[in-house]
Amino acid sequence: MSSLSRNNVKVSGSGSRTILFAHGFGCDQAMWRFVAPHFEKTFKVVSMDHVGAGGSDLDAYDSEKYASLDGYASDIVEIARELGIQNGIFVGHSVSAMIGVLASLKAPEIFDTLIMVGPSPRYIDDGDYVGGFGASDIEELLASFADNPLAWSAAMAPTIMGNQERPELGQELTQSFCRTDPRIAHEFARATFTSDNRADLPKVTARTLILQCRDDIIAGENVGEYVRQNIDGSTLVLLDATGHCPNLSAPAEVTRAIKDFG
């Protein structure tokens, strides 16, 4: 099967370079809807859903393949090869920052630039390393999926929006955003929050920009700083935005930072 239909890949814009946007845990490509369109004049813009999220092909979900971030990284490489991407820009939010690292190590020719929004190479504290979560925090999170799968119900039901306020969303009146199968969300959470990619950071050869929010409980400032220190020549920009999703809460700032680096 084509990786393009499997991952609900959408291509827009035009330009000699390609910029690919990848979403993190908990949502889908809608995460980039206020950022990606600003690149369409100068880039070929690619957005996609990881398998299990959004409009991806749920039949392609394989618990074994996606038990680690490596399975998601293989998909990125397949998409890039199918689209013939060379020396492109990879923009990864949250866990997709590390998925981008793994993809660029597998196939260094596809992306010469990595933009990481709220990256974390390891969420669980380990000795001197402070990831921000204790092992018991993550156990509690993973247990909650089994105990209370309906926590994800807000993302399950299509929502009908009043479109006067948001005319740009008019054509998606009954679409649900961030659709997630609770069982797959559970396994993606495990792959995400138990990952450890610290050893991969020094191997990165792509130009790297880290966009760090303030007051982000998922990936704190010290974690962004750790990533900067361990990727040679990387740049960290501390945004004014707070929380974990500046691509939604401060899209103009994120867009500007990516363009300034590009």
Binding site: A151, R166, D215, S249
Partner: protein
């Protein structure tokens, strides 16, 4: 009428929160403050994350906050709040985002309802579903075992029967006494009946215990030679009972030819067992211009009792009359199942004049 909205907010029978864009609780109402075990005003100024458990915080940051920004509202979220003493309390949450003129988040309004009983009920449902799924998996494993058993049984029964059939054919070519030839004829009849019984038993097992009667569908120009061969074989085993045939097959038929042979064999076998030996059995097969294939077998003798008619196609139903030779009583049931598998029907009419079984299917 004056309505005191401030009082409604504070004393509403559900929880209300106003949260700033950067996650600070601006105002919590009395109901929520009490529920979480704080003194009045004790939550105001805290961060929203402070009243969430760990999984709630991650859920909010990675899923709920993005949804609020994208859809402006979320509803029916079930999560746990954290009380001042650290214990968890299940709630249902809805929220809406207030945007500033540029469309960016300005404030979030959140409402909570308690959901302890509901959560318990959900847990029970989940656990019942898990049990059911496990039971189903076990049944599927048993089903696979049965399929294998049926396949092995069929193979192991057919092989020695094939040897016996070959042996009787070889013996029939030897010079034998009259009595010897008679015995060989009887043996060949028995082998034929046994072969038919094995087919029926295997089909019964597949239909009832396994994956259903499987069909190998092919288009056959004429079914006449097949049906005629079945008639010849059964005639040889019951030489005293006259069988008349008539055919009007002018169209090809798409079917599983061995199963159609089985229907013919089962219906004719049934007529030989239960019909009056003094009256001829009539076998007729035809294709119709309206697109059907029809096969009927009619015999004389006493009619089938009305109450027996309704159960005729159930398994293990045996006829009342003597001289019964079909054994398990699966023949009509299997013929009926094969008819259904072909998208056709098997029906019966029984009068003083004749008893007639009619098999019809789209060709």
């Amino acid at each position: 009428m004056d309505v005191d909205y401030k009082q409604l907010f504070d004393d509403a029978p559900c929880g209300h929160l106003l949260v700033s864009a950067d996650g600070i609780i601006l105002r919590a109402n009395t109901w929520l403050t009490d529920l979480l075990g704080y003194p009045i005003g004790g939550i105001d100024g805290k961060r929203l994350r402070d009243i969430f458990g760990m999984s709630g915080r991650i859920l909010y940051e990675t899923n709920l906050a993005p949804l609020l920004r994208l859809q402006r509202t979320i509803s029916e979220v079930t999560l746990d709040l954290k009380r001042s003493d650290g214990t968890a309390i299940p709630v249902i949450m809805g929220a809406s985002m207030v945007a500033d003129p540029s469309g960016l988040p300005h404030m979030t309004r959140i409402a909570f309802l308690q959901a302890g009983e509901r959560r318990l009920y959900e847990r029970e449902l989940l656990s019942a579903r898990d049990d059911a799924e496990q039971g189903l998996r076990q049944q599927q494993a048993h089903g696979e075992l049965r399929e294998q058993f049926i396949a092995v049984l069929g193979h192991d029964l057919r092989n020695p029967l094939g040897s016996m059939s070959a042996a009787t054919r070889m013996l029939a070519k030897e010079t034998l006494s009259d009595r010897g030839r008679q015995v060989i004829g009887l043996m060949q009849g028995s082998v034929l009946r046994m072969s038919g019984l094995i087919d029926n038993v295997l089909d019964f097992a597949r239909a009832r215990l396994g994956s259903g009667i499987g069909l190998d569908l092919q288009t056959h120009e004429s079914l006449e030679p097949l049906i005629d061969q079945v008639v010849q074989e059964l005639r040889a085993s019951s030489p005293d009972h006259q069988v008349q045939t008539s055919y009007a097959i002018t169209h090809p038929v798409r079917c599983d030819v061995s199963k159609i042979g089985q229907i013919a064999s089962n219906l004719l076998g049934n007529a030989l067992s239960h019909g009056d030996p003094a009256q001829p059995i009539r076998v007729h097969a035809e294709t119709t211009t309206s697109g059907e294939f029809r096969l009927w077998v009619a015999n004389g003798g006493s009619p089938i009792a009305q109450d027996a008619l309704t159960k005729l196609f159930d398994p293990f139903v045996r006829g009342q009359s003597g001289g019964y030779r079909e054994g398990l009583g699966l023949g009509l049931y299997i013929a009926h199942e094969i008819a259904k598998a072909h998208g056709g029907t098997l029906t019966v009419t029984s009068t003083e004049n004749e008893t007639r079984f009619i098999f019809e299917m789209p060709r």
